[in-house]
């Protein structure tokens, strides 16, 4: 806990030192929700078959998908960026000679970004529901938070794999960027996966965000079909194994870098 709170306090202090950005970083969220609201207005009143299983309301559909996509980039990049920044500034070795474990240091170095991304996700949904009247089943909030927690665990796992790569090979990896871009394309963030060509639609179940988006919509949108909830839940649960795999890879990469003498190299 000491390690996590030290990093949280450090990152808050650094963010606070950029006060203008600190106060205005959430303003863009409001503009994004307003944009989605007006775009959804174009489709109001039209019967779109692809949206029928989600209750037919595009604003609620896209709001849930966009909210989850806000997690993708920060969570998969936070840990490798934390390691890289520490290596460049020379603080990585200084931290590793404290009593904190290497794994704890790397995980804690990304937790502020994770927390900010989660707050932004919840704010996006809250603004959509309270100000713009998204049609949500409010009784399902605990289940929705469970989906968010599983999604966070999966994305953190991918982020730790990315950090492990940076530590072991002293260079940033291209996979998480491709993962995020691919997810935005085929995970049904802005549109249902059923509108994709068949060859792309078969790829979408291979990405965890597909199941997170589907599950959150089936559980939370008023009037959505709940018959496929189980399948998406178990798929998402399976993807959660990425978290322990990420922790294991991170440990191995730190051992490898200690042996290679490359902890501070970048």
């Amino acid at each position: 806990m000491n390690t996590a709170s030290a990093f949280f306090m450090r990152d808050f202090q650094v963010a606070w030192s950029y006060r203008f950005s600190f106060f205005f970083q959430n303003a863009s969220l409001l503009f994004s929700v307003i944009t989605l609201y007006f775009v959804s207005g174009l489709l109001e009143g039209s019967e779109i078959a692809a949206l029928s299983q989600y209750g037919g309301d595009y604003f609620s559909f896209v709001l849930l998908g966009t909210g989850l996509s806000l997690l993708a980039y920060p969570l998969t990049k936070a840990f490798s960026a934390g390691v890289r920044a520490a290596q460049v500034s020379g603080t990585f070795e200084a931290m590793l000679i404290t009593r904190a474990t290497g794994t704890g240091i790397v995980i804690s170095s990304g937790m502020y970004s994770v927390a900010i991304a989660c707050v932004q996700l919840l704010l996006t949904w809250l603004i959509g529901a309270v100000i713009f009247g998204a049609e949500f089943r409010l009784t399902q909030i605990p289940l929705l938070l469970g989906v968010v927690a599983m999604t966070v665990a999966i994305l953190v796992g991918i982020g730790l794999l990315s950090a492990a790569f940076v530590i072991a090979f002293k260079q940033s990896e291209p996979f998480t960027g491709a993962f995020v871009a691919g997810s935005l394309l085929v995970s049904g963030i802005m549109y249902p996966t059923s509108v994709l060509p068949r060859w792309l639609e078969v790829v979408s179940p291979l990405l965890p965000l597909t199941h997170a988006a589907e599950l959150s919509r089936f559980l939370f949108i008023e009037g959505a079909d709940t018959s496929n909830v189980g399948m998406h839940f178990f798929a998402l649960l399976g993807f959660c194994s990425l978290l322990p795999i990420g922790v294991f890879a991170l440990r191995r990469s730190l051992d490898f870098a200690r042996q290679a003498g490359s902890l501070s190299q970048y």
Binding site: N2, T3, S5, A6, M9, R10, Q13, V14, S17, S89, G90, T91, E93, A94, M95, L96, I97, T98, R99, A100, T101, I105, F169, K170, D255, R258, Q259, A260, G261, S262, L263, S264, Q265
Partner: protein, 335 residues
């Protein structure tokens, strides 16, 4: 006195590290430590000397668990660095050679609190200890200023404060006063002595300044060719250095052939390149005691087309090391 650090037959080679090299497994390697054995006891103040690149920092990093040897063992207060790193790190304070190793947007005091928290120090102790160390190192008035605004010397003093935070019994210092002015360097050494004595600890100091090594340390070890070539007392070293004097000079644009002409300047016993970074060479010049032929030397340098960047009086480390390894207090030029 009980042994606090035992380095036994440690070997370390560095391999080229890349994805392709990893797959080939037979990547070319550069051997740095070739069977280093060293014991450091409670109360020892050991200066670790040697030329650039001989593995002094590598050895310190191994003791601090930042690097694992390929062969041999390192134990600190009975704990093996490989199997019991956590226990080792509880007892080790390390002043890294890189004084930039702080968070630049945080103040000096916030930086110390951050590292103290990682070391598991309680809140009250953290605050009191940070203030005490800032005060002793003449940084209390700068404690609330962002680290990015510190001068190089202030950054190095803060690095010393960080290493002392947890009251370590084993203190490792890698050129800790390189950019600190003499008055503040004296403050650092006074504090270090008090802290080491208070916890019945030991100090391992890597330095290129002979005067610093002699004034602080009771023991001197010389690392050469990947091994401890000599482990002796400071008094012995002083005897070998007593008739040597010299200066170090940073230059640009000097060719290797120029060294031969510089060695021929009257009053100069020897000239060596101590380091070379980004086109700037640091020359270590050995002269006879009390005879500094500065005018003739600089005239020769400029005649060779070199530009002098800085110059300071310093006993030539490499000349003393050569004498020590040879075993006789002979003239530097003959070493």
């Amino acid at each position: 006195m009980p042994e606090m650090i035992i380095v036994d037959s440690v070997e370390k080679a560095f391999r080229r590290q890349s994805v392709s090299a990893l797959l080939r497994r037979s990547a070319p390697s550069h051997s740095v430590l070739r069977g280093v054995t060293l014991e450091i006891a409670e109360g020892d103040y050991l200066a670790l000397l040697g030329a650039n690149g001989v593995g002094k920092t590598t050895l310190l990093k191994a003791i601090a668990t930042l690097l694992l040897p390929d062969a041999g063992t390192v134990t600190v207060l009975g704990s093996d660095i490989r199997t019991d790193g956590d226990r080792v790190r509880r007892n080790v304070g390390y002043v890294l050679a890189d004084e930039r190793s702080f968070h630049w947007r945080l103040t000096g005091e916030e930086n110390l609190h951050f590292f103290a928290k990682l070391d598991g120090m309680a809140a009250g102790d953290r605050v009191a200890r940070a203030r005490f160390l800032l005060d002793r190192l003449d940084l209390s008035s700068a404690g609330d200023r962002p680290f990015g605004q510190y001068s190089t010397g202030m950054k190095q003093r803060l690095a010393v404060a960080r290493a002392l935070l947890k009251r370590p019994r084993v203190l490792l210092m890698d050129e800790p006063t390189r950019s600190i002015d003499p008055a503040h360097a004296a403050d650092v050494w006074r504090l270090v002595r008090e802290e080491v004595e208070a916890v019945s600890g030991c100090l391992v100091l890597v330095t290129h300044q002979i005067q610093e090594a002699l004034s602080l340390c009771s023991r001197v070890a010389i690392l050469a060719d990947g091994e401890i070539a000599l482990d002796t007392t400071a008094q012995q070293m002083e005897r070998f250095a007593s008739d040597l004097d010299g200066f170090s000079v940073s230059v640009r644009g000097l060719s290797r052939d120029g060294l031969i002409q510089l060695r021929a300047v009257p009053g100069v016993c020897d000239v060596r390149i101590a380091s070379q970074v980004a086109g700037e060479q640091v020359l270590e010049v050995a002269t006879s005691s009390g005879d500094l032929p500065l005018g003739g030397f600089i005239e020769e340098l400029t005649g060779l087309g070199a530009t002098v960047c800085s110059l300071q009086r310093a006993t030539p480390l490499q000349a003393v090391v050569q004498r020590l390894l040879a075993g006789t207090p002979q003239k530097a030029g003959a070493a």
